[in-house]
């Protein structure tokens, strides 16, 4: 056991997989010699050398296209897209190439790759460098989509993503990079498609992802302490595959659902899960399923403005309390 940061967990996860399998290669902008713009890949270049850890031009389409071609022919590339907002400049690979080639070729083509990217707000970077865009990927059939909330999950889910035979988009939350957590020694491999109940509870289910997980946990403690409401907190972790069993199971016990997501309001993963629950567990619900999201606006740069728009523990407490008491 050691306490390491989410940031260092990224490098450790990649190193674990590169040490295990020489087909794992890593490319991206400033990732090698400089150790990455968030310093999340420091040391990999030194450890694995210039053939396996490669700096690229500012050419996101070339990065993802090259990752795909390498994956189709036998490697297991990890590609970094520095900020997840930049997925927009290489979205064709995410939307039209990675997820469709196997199907269109009737199973001939494989695409075992991982795209890692810095997601989410909190750094006061403004509207083009702060978005949460996991829904841009969740909505595309044929991808897998993961977003860890802790250093341990970073390693375990990254390892699972690298070993997975399908294209996985791996969202690291920029505001979590400095946070620390306990991580066991030795190899860590987790399982995609599994949500985790982080805090069992009986009065309602709160689903959260990435940076929203610690906020949901804090809210749950306060709901209990201040209002006697016992909330179950589930870290969704994997949007595709989606662990609907855990989610439906939880709602089946608590009868109330809240989702906490950083996505802007419309068509986020909260909408998907609420729709699944409303359809499949309608008669389990004792009241309306409620989404807590960022409002449907671009993100402002100023710190106190940015802080106001993301869901906070306060907002979660207030929303749950009011909804359960009404």
């Amino acid at each position: 056991m050691a306490e390491i940061s989410y940031r260092d967990a990224v490098a450790r996860g990649i190193a674990q997989e590169m040490a295990r399998d020489k087909d794992v290669v890593f490319l991206g902008e400033d990732v090698a010699k400089a150790g990455g713009c968030f310093k999340a890949t420091v040391g990999l270049y030194e450890q694995f050398g210039p053939l396996r850890v490669r700096d690229t031009p500012i050419s996101e389409q070339a990065i993802l296209g090259a990752a795909m071609g390498a994956a189709m022919t036998g490697l297991k590339p990890i590609a970094e897209i520095m900020f997840s907002d930049f997925i927009a400049v290489c979205f064709d690979y995410i939307a039209n190439e990675f997820p469709k080639s196997r199907y269109m070729s009737n199973g001939q083509t494989k695409c075992p790759l991982v795209v890692r990217t810095g997601n989410g707000a909190g750094s006061r970077f403004g509207a083009q460098h702060s978005q949460s865009v996991e829904n841009w990927c969740m909505m595309i059939p044929g991808l897998k989509v993961v977003a860890p909330s802790s250093p341990r999950d970073v390693i375990g889910l990254l390892a699972a993503a690298v070993r997975d035979p399908d294209p996985v988009i791996f969202f690291e939350h920029k505001s979590l990079y400095p946070i620390k957590g306990e991580v066991p020694d030795g190899e860590i491999v987790d399982t995609l498609g599994t949500a985790k109940i982080l805090r069992p509870g009986t009065d309602c289910t709160i689903l959260a992802l990435a940076l929203m997980v610690p906020r949901a946990l804090e809210a749950a403690e306060r709901l209990k302490a201040e209002h006697g409401i016992d909330a179950e907190v589930v870290d969704v972790r994997s949007l595709v595959p989606l662990d609907t069993q855990t989610i439906l199971g939880s709602v089946g016990r608590t009868h109330r659902l809240f989702t906490v997501e950083e996505n802007p309001r419309l068509c986020g993963w909260g909408a998907e899960i609420v729709s699944i629950v409303a359809d499949e567990a309608f008669y389990d619900l004792d009241g309306p399923p409620v989404r807590i999201t960022t409002p449907h606006i671009p993100l402002p740069a100023a710190d106190h403005l940015e802080d106001m728009v993301l869901p906070t523990a306060d907002r979660i407490v207030e929303t749950v309390r009011r909804s359960l008491n009404s």
Binding site: V25, L51, R52, R54, T56, P57, S59, E60, Q61, A62, I63, L64, G65, A66, A67, M68, G69, A70, A71, M72, T73, G74, L75, P77, D92, Y93, N96, E97, S101, R102, Y103, M104, S105, N106, G107, Q108, T109, K110, P112, P141, G142, D164, P165, D166, G193, V240, P241, L242, D243, T244, Q245
Partner: protein, 343 residues
């Protein structure tokens, strides 16, 4: 049009035959086969038996045949929606290609992909891509794998003149050059994007050739209607790639006799253009070439008949083939064979 002026650049004689009779006959056979198969596809379309869209490369056979004949087993082709010829030229059966166009169960991808996405990994055909430019970076990636592993195969990426104006072209060329990847980019300049003349939308006269220097590469613009010229240039580029000396960008001047896609009557052509290019039909050129090298009409006729037999048999097989069963709808989204996005 510019290409019209160009005479076949290498009218070899038996004395300087660097290509040799066996390869020449293979080049001939391949071109005839592509021509017959695509002509048949067109006939089947007129009979309403080809579904969806389809993009023929009638008139462009010398490029596909010339490159494919220069490839070795293990070399990889990356094609576009206009990919029938390149797929066939790697040895995929006419039946599998026509079957896919007819969306039958005997099709190359059993109707799941359709004519724009022909893929046959067994033959090194690593897919046909229908988003302009997308496959150029993908071909880089396959070449990167070869470089990383020390494999000696070359990735060959085919695309059109119009494709040189999209961003992915630029990113891929720079990337391949910087990483010195064993990839060969083949631009088939058939003078048009869909219906718009390439000159109307391109800042330079040679859409690929005049861009090569931007990636530190030599300008190579060749007669794409002469299979020998294509074959020789392909060999050079492949040798360079295998020697670890990096990518090539080759512009082949050619012309499509058919419309852009099945829906296109190609009314935008200036009068006489098609006729002038038909005089430089690659098959006509190659028949003359073979004659020059002393190949008899009878040998050619036998090849023609042989090819026709394959195409006829394929046509019958496709007509008789069943539709794909509906259970394949939900297979092969993911590597586990299924499509489950939830538990």
């Amino acid at each position: 049009m510019k290409a019209m002026a160009a005479k076949p650049t290498t009218a070899g004689t038996p004395a300087n035959d660097d290509i040799g009779e066996a390869k020449r006959l293979a080049l001939y056979r391949s071109q005839i086969r592509l021509r017959e198969a695509e002509q048949r596809a067109f006939d089947l379309f007129l009979q309403n038996l080809v579904k969806g869209t389809s993009h023929l490369s009638l008139g462009q056979e010398a490029v596909a045949a010339g490159f494919a004949e220069a490839m070795q087993k293990g070399d990889l082709s990356f094609c576009t929606y206009r990919g029938h010829a390149h797929t066939l030229a790697r040895g995929v059966s006419v039946e599998k290609v026509l079957g896919e166009l007819m969306q039958k169960d005997n099709g190359l991808m059993r109707g799941k992909g359709g004519s724009m996405h022909l893929t046959s990994e067994d033959h090194g055909v690593m897919g046909s891509y229908a988003i302009i430019g997308a496959h150029l970076p993908i071909a880089c990636g396959a070449a990167w794998r070869a470089q990383y592993r020390g494999d000696k195969d070359v990735s060959v990426c085919f695309f059109g003149d119009g494709t040189t104006n999209i961003g992915a072209f630029h990113e891929a060329l720079n990337f391949a050059a910087v990483w010195k990847l064993p990839v060969v980019f083949v631009c088939e300049n058939n003078l048009y994007m869909e219906y718009t003349p390439i000159g109307d939308v391109t800042a330079v006269p040679s859409p690929a050739g005049d861009r090569a220097a931007a990636y530190g590469l030599p300008k190579i613009v060749i007669d794409g209607n002469d299979a020998d010229v294509v074959y020789r240039e392909a060999q050079k580029a492949f040798a360079k790639a295998r020697a670890g000396e990096g990518p090539s960008l080759i512009e082949c001047l050619t012309y499509r006799h058919s419309g852009h896609s099945r829906a296109d009557p190609a009314k935008y052509r200036p009068e006489g253009e098609l006729e002038r290019w038909k005089e430089r039909d690659p098959i006509k050129i190659y028949r003359e070439r073979l004659k020059q090298f002393g190949v008899s009409e009878q040998v050619m006729a036998e090849i023609d008949a042989d090819v026709r037999r394959e195409v006829d048999a394929a046509t019958e097989a496709c007509k008789a083939a069943p539709m794909p069963p509906t259970d394949i709808l939900f297979t092969d989204v993911y590597a586990d064979g299924g499509w489950a996005w939830r538990n």
